[in-house]
């Protein structure tokens, strides 16, 4: 088993946290994992992406050129990583910010209106969890329970009050692709 995913958006959308949680969930399930971040010097507004690899064997390079899946949170990331996605790859696209259908017919595309879902839940910051929930449910790369466990482990003690809304967001994302 080998899966590589690029998660991309702008700084502040929680791209790196989503990648960290996905990698942690993979480790909980006994896989080899890497999470490689790439970001600018800005805290918010710049571009941000990370590469997550989950594999049953040791991972040589944590950096790859053509991922088998992408999770795209904004338009700029679609333009950057859309062309890099492998043929027959999977793109989970935040349709709240990527308005136009992406023009490639050799890939699977799934549109999730993540901003609207997050706002319905009352916190626009959980867009990343909506997208992650959708991706995990669609691909079955890890169990959603492992994501919940990873979330509990990663959230610091003073942030555990946010566990519930993040879990809700993951569930809503998962439901959106059923």
């Amino acid at each position: 088993m080998y899966q590589d995913i690029i998660i991309a958006g702008f700084g502040g959308q929680g791209v790196l946290l989503a990648g960290r949680i996905l990698a942690y969930a993979g480790m909980i399930e006994g896989r080899h994992v890497t999470m490689f971040p790439s970001y600018g010097i800005e805290m918010r507004g710049g571009t941000s992406n990370c590469t997550v690899i989950i594999s049953s064997d040791e991972i040589a390079s944590p950096v790859i050129k053509n991922p088998s899946s992408i999770i795209v949170l904004n338009k700029a990331s679609m333009d950057k990583f859309g062309p890099a996605l492998k043929s027959h790859g999977m793109a989970i696209i935040n349709s709240s910010l990527v308005k136009e259908p992406y023009k490639r017919n050799d890939i699977d595309m799934l549109y999730v209106s993540a901003n609207e879902i997050a706002e319905e839940l009352g916190d626009s910051k959980v867009v990343n969890m909506v997208m992650l929930g959708a991706f995990v449910n669609k691909t079955g790369i890890v169990r959603i329970e492992s994501i919940f466990n990873a979330l509990t482990e990663i959230l610091p003690a003073k942030r555990q009050n946010l566990l519930k809304i993040n879990q809700e967001a993951l569930k809503r994302g998962a439901a959106a692709v059923k």
Partner: protein, 382 residues
């Protein structure tokens, strides 16, 4: 105090750690209890982790006014008996170099972590590079040898930080953990074991602290406060630390010993790893994050029927020239992928009998397996 020390170390198990976090945890495990530093991307998480964790293990953390003060405090702390460390990136290292020379001359054990970013100067703060290979080797004045280790994974950020402390204590020399932004910020599994070898500097009451005939080139090191007569100077000094700035014999003996204590022990110090080299016709030599891409490239090339293999350098300085020389007599070509315009490759050329091909990438992005495979194919065709 011993109770506090033992309970503050991460218990054995699997952790998903960032490279920089693993480095900080490893320093604590190695016995580092003094850290002075000035924050700089992409090394800052080391300082942040140390600042968070030191109160739990009775360590002393100081944020200094700059990098010059940081390395000075580290050297001073080492002479009080502490294992001491600082972490920085290329531009910060440039500021430290004068006193790194002082640490070399005074034979002060300390660990300096350089999480390399794209330079020169301020360059790209969050982008990886491997451009400081020669800065750590030759940045200070005069003739000397240092030790530099190059981790390629989060696990090695942990393992080699302990190794860096062990080597610095054993050889009384500054040891560099020369990593890159990619390994520093990478997150992956790190397995922490209870059983770790820790080496401490040797002591011998009454012995001269700066070398005498018949010793093993690394003199015992007293600390201030232990009752020994102790003079520490960056000027030329005899075995007791007395300044001998006009004595040619003392100067020659000192400078040669400073080099020889590393060079005559280089087989003990240098460490490399081999992958698929048994029948290889093309030998890739790489280090740090570039070696990760190289290993993947080797696998891709093997699938295409190209007999490629990888020699990975865990030690950059002293340069593992023996093993590279041997490799060059067995393969047809050597390829050196690195994220600079050719630093380790020149050393490889110096000791190799076969053709050596340079593969550079300096755009602030990590070298990929595709870069290496395509670069190699272009080169073989032409």
């Amino acid at each position: 105090m011993s109770n506090i020390l033992s309970t503050s170390i991460l218990s054995s198990g699997s952790y998903l750690l960032q490279g920089n976090e693993a480095c900080a945890e490893s320093a604590i495990r190695a016995g580092c209890r003094f850290y002075a530093g000035y924050p700089i991307s992409p090394s800052s998480e080391i300082m942040e982790s140390i600042a968070n964790r030191f109160p739990e293990c009775n360590g002393t953390f100081i944020q200094m006014e700059d990098e010059i003060a940081s390395i000075s405090a580290v050297i001073g702390a080492s002479w009080t008996g502490a294992k001491a460390m600082t972490a920085t990136s290329g531009p910060g290292l440039s500021l430290m170099l004068e006193n790194i020379g002082y640490a070399i001359m005074t034979e002060t054990p300390c660990v300096i972590v350089d999480v390399q970013r794209a330079g020169p100067s301020t360059g790209q703060a969050t982008r990886p590079a491997q451009g400081d290979v020669m800065q750590v080797r030759w940045g200070a004045s005069g003739d000397y040898q240092i030790i530099a280790l190059s981790p390629w994974s989060v696990q090695e950020m942990y393992d080699l930080t302990i190794e860096a402390f062990n080597l610095s204590e054993q050889f009384r020399v500054p040891v560099f953990l020369l990593c890159d932004e990619a390994v520093g910020h990478l997150r992956e599994r790190c397995i922490i074991k209870d059983d770790v070898e820790i080496i401490n500097r040797k002591k011998a009451k009454g012995n001269p602290p700066f070398g005498q005939d018949g010793d093993d080139l690394v003199p015992p090191m007293p600390s201030f406060g232990e009752g020994e007569k102790l003079l520490v100077t960056g000027s030329t000094h005899n075995e007791y630390g007395f300044r001998k700035t006009a004595d040619s014999a003392v100067q020659e003996r000192l400078v040669k010993r400073l080099s020889n204590k590393i060079l005559l022990n280089q087989d003990k110090i240098t460490d490399t790893e081999e992958y698929f080299l048994e029948d290889a016709e093309i030998g890739i030599i790489s280090y740090g994050i570039s070696a990760r891409a190289s290993l993947k490239a080797v696998k891709v090339l093997r699938e295409k029927g190209v007999k490629a293999g990888l020699l990975r350098l865990k030690t950059l300085w002293p340069f593992p020239e023996k093993v590279i020389g041997e490799l060059s007599s067995k393969v047809k070509k050597i390829v050196v992928p690195e994220m600079n315009l050719g630093q380790i490759v020149r050393e490889v050329e110096r000791v190799s009998d076969c053709e050596v091909i340079r593969l550079s990438k300096v755009n602030g992005e990590v070298i990929t397996p595709t870069n290496i495979v395509e670069g190699l194919q272009t080169n073989i065709r032409s």
